[in-house]
């Protein structure tokens, strides 16, 4: 039995014209770090709002820690921590005042649950008299996490917590999530960043309100049906066009400093053939190597299917 269970949940806006969540079912186990991966507008926030009792689903049922999100909303609101996508702290209150406010609101105090937020809060402590508006993006997220954690929730909902945060702060943020997981807190996190998917224990790929697949990141990557090649040469922008026109190639996407390429037919000398072809076309420093697929590759492939 999962800690968070969704059964055939759907949600539409504008009198049914816009479908945000389309017949979604999944469950998150107790103490699991579960990721909802998808681009903007995929329906991640709607799912979060249904689970945090802020929206009533049009169809289906959902429960958090055994409580129904519609009927037992009061119980859920006592037991969960929620960090919305937008920075939702009081900008004109200081770090300390914000934390104190949310602690009191949940009928606890900073001192009572200090050990839970200690590791995060020590980083904020030097700025505790500073107003939240004047914090950096990473600091704001840390403070928001502190505020969502201060009452020791059973389940933590984090809606795009790392959006707009620099790479270093993102890494730190994920390290904090691991430590919270160790304390037995179930964590449901959403992110548009595919590279963060591998940091979750299990992920759901979501697109257009529908779940495309749910599994561990390794399994999802392992199920990728084709061999993946990475291609690099001097003129990367024209190279992408060139590759797409090359007949044996099935798909080609820009991916960092390489282009990720799959071939229609899987025979042994694809890489060599491509190398020769590009050299003939006049590209210099051509480099073709086999690589493993990433979550992003899986996502694009499933999206196009």
């Amino acid at each position: 039995m999962g800690d968070v269970v969704l059964t055939n949940i759907s949600k539409t806006y504008n009198d049914g014209k816009t479908v945000a969540v389309d017949d979604v079912s999944f469950s998150v186990n107790k103490g699991e770090l579960f990721g909802l991966i998808g681009p903007d507008g995929a329906g991640k926030t709607s799912i979060f709002r249904i689970l945090t009792t802020l929206l009533i689903p049009d169809g289906g049922t959902a429960s958090v820690s055994g409580s129904d999100v519609v009927k037992d909303y009061k119980t859920i609101r006592r037991n969960i921590g929620y960090m919305p996508g937008k920075f939702s702290l009081y900008q004109d209150l200081t770090v300390e005042e914000n934390l104190n406010f949310f602690a009191t609101l949940f009928d606890t105090s900073i001192a009572a649950n200090y050990d839970l937020v200690k590791e995060i809060y020590v980083q904020l402590e030097p700025f505790k008299k500073r107003r939240a508006a004047k914090l950096s993006g990473g600091m704001k997220q840390k403070l928001a996490l502190c505020c969502a954690l201060i009452h020791k929730p059973e389940v933590l909902f984090l809606d795009e917590p790392t959006t707009g945060v620099d790479a270093v702060s993102r890494k730190e943020f994920w390290e904090m999530l691991y430590r919270l997981k160790e304390q037995g807190i179930t964590i449901l996190v959403s992110t548009p960043y595919m590279d963060e998917a591998t940091l979750c224990e299990r992920i759901a790929l979501i697109q257009g309100g529908k779940i495309m697949s749910i599994d561990t990141p390794d399994n999802i990557i392992g199920q990728y049906p084709k061999k993946m090649f990475a291609v690099r040469a001097e003129k990367m922008s024209t190279l992408l066009k060139e590759l797409r026109e090359y007949d044996p190639i099935e798909s080609c996407f820009a991916f960092g400093e390489y282009h990720h390429v799959t071939f229609k037919a899987e025979n042994g000398n694809n890489a060599e053939a491509l190398n020769t072809y590009l050299n003939q076309k006049g590209y210099e420093q051509v480099h073709v190597k086999q690589t493993s697929a990433t979550i992003e590759d899986c996502f694009i492939r499933q999206m196009n299917e």
């Binding site: 709002r49 945090t52 009792t53 802020l54 929206l55 009533i56 909303y73 009061k74 609101r77 006592r78 969960i80 929620y82 960090m83 919305p84 996508g85 937008k86 920075f87 939702s88 702290l89 009081y90 900008q91 004109d92 209150l93 005042e97 104190n100 406010f101 949310f102 009191t104 609101l105 949940f106 009928d107 505020c147 969502a148």
Partner: protein, 368 residues
């Protein structure tokens, strides 16, 4: 209770840390009082007039002297011919002209009847009527002087007494109006904007996903504005009593009690507006337009309600400031007690109860 207190404290932080809110809260009442007190007054002072005196005799000189002595008038021009009068009006310098025919005094003495012509610029009818009445009074007073001691049969003397406001000061009329306007505007605007701000910044989501009762969110938002409005009320009263010589004859506690009812009416209106808007701008616009115009139009301090067509008079009945205006005038100026205003109070209280009921009913414990 601890939750409630910290919420109220948070609201006070919001107010005192935002210079714009502070300016709105305390700048507006002071500005309105000073504006209505000194600039936008409907009292008539120093109106420029012209005199065309063909007679220039003892009687006319005496009347002109009286005109000059009256501070409602300022004799701008002495014209030689009545043909110049229209020219003077067109130049826009004068509001009124007085023409004495030749032989004014001798007609008065011998025919017992003399005529004086008063020409007023009636493009502003109220001012024209008031000014001609002033002139008539002055001429009458001269007539009383010369007939003094003589017996004229069948004479009716009207003696007018201006009760409660013998000097016809404008302040007595507009201060209660401004009080209603400021309390309504400030409370409605502040509550609606502060609730919608929480929606806009996303903090409402966090507040809702907490064990804190959503209705307490609303009440703790209203508490600071309630007290700040009472401070505001005090500022207005002090300014109008000491600066504008506004009379204060009634019971001050009764006034504060009645004002508290209006403040609660306004707070529930603000709550209602915040329920149906999603952005601070929309909330501000609706509060301003929805409060300013009805209050200015239907309170009775700018336009007398008795003169309005019946449908408008009916509409005025649902404007809370109309009743508050009557209450404040009764307390401050007439010095009446609760027994005289219980009906108006009852109307105001029932409005508040209905508004509170509707806005609590409409308040959403979820998003959308």
């Amino acid at each position: 209770m601890k939750q409630f207190l910290i919420f109220v404290r948070k609201e006070f932080y919001h107010v005192f840390r935002d210079p714009k809110t502070l300016l709105m809260l305390f700048g507006m009442p002071v500005t309105l009082i000073l504006l209505f007190g000194f600039a936008l007054t409907n009292e008539i002072k120093n109106s420029k007039i012209a005199v065309c005196d063909y007679a220039n005799d003892e009687a006319t000189q005496r009347i002109v002297e009286k005109l000059r002595a009256n501070n409602s008038f300022e004799i701008q021009e002495v014209l030689m011919s009545h043909l110049q009068i229209e020219e003077a009006f067109k130049r826009g310098k004068i509001k009124l002209a007085i023409v004495f025919p030749t032989d004014f005094n001798s007609d008065l003495q011998h025919v017992n009847e003399a005529q004086v012509q008063v020409i007023a610029d009636a493009s502003d009818p109220n001012t024209a009527t008031t000014l001609t009445n002033y002139v008539r009074n002055i001429v009458m007073s001269y007539q009383n002087e010369i007939t003094d001691g003589k017996t004229i049969p069948y004479q009716i003397k009207t003696e007018t007494r201006m009760l409660y406001n013998p000097e016809l000061k404008g302040a007595t009329n507009f201060v209660p109006g401004v009080m209603a306007l400021v309390l309504l505007l400030v409370c409605v605007l502040m509550t609606s904007v502060s609730i919608v701000r929480e929606k806009e910044t996303g903090t409402m989501e966090v507040l809702l996903v907490s064990p804190f009762n959503p209705f307490l969110v609303i009440i703790s938002k209203a508490v600071p504005y309630f007290f700040l409005s009472l401070v505001n009320l005090t500022v207005i009263l002090v300014l109008s009593v000491f600066l504008l010589d506004m009379p204060f004859n009634g019971n001050i506690f009764l006034l504060y009690g009645e004002s508290s009812i209006l403040i609660i009416t306004a707070l529930s209106l603000g709550l209602l507006i915040s329920n149906s808007t999603q952005s601070q701008q929309a909330a501000m616009l609706i509060s301003l337009l929805g409060m300013l115009f009805p209050t200015l139009m239907f309170t009775g301090f700018l336009f007398p309600l008795e003169n309005m067509p019946l449908p408008l008079q009916v509409i005025a009945n649902i404007v809370p400031s109309k009743w508050y205006y009557i209450i404040v005038k009764s307390i401050m100026i007439k010095g009446l007690g609760f027994s005289a205003i219980w009906k108006e109070t009852l109307i105001l209280v029932s409005m508040t109860v209905v508004l509170l009921f509707v806005s609590f009913k409409k308040f959403k414990i979820r998003l959308a």
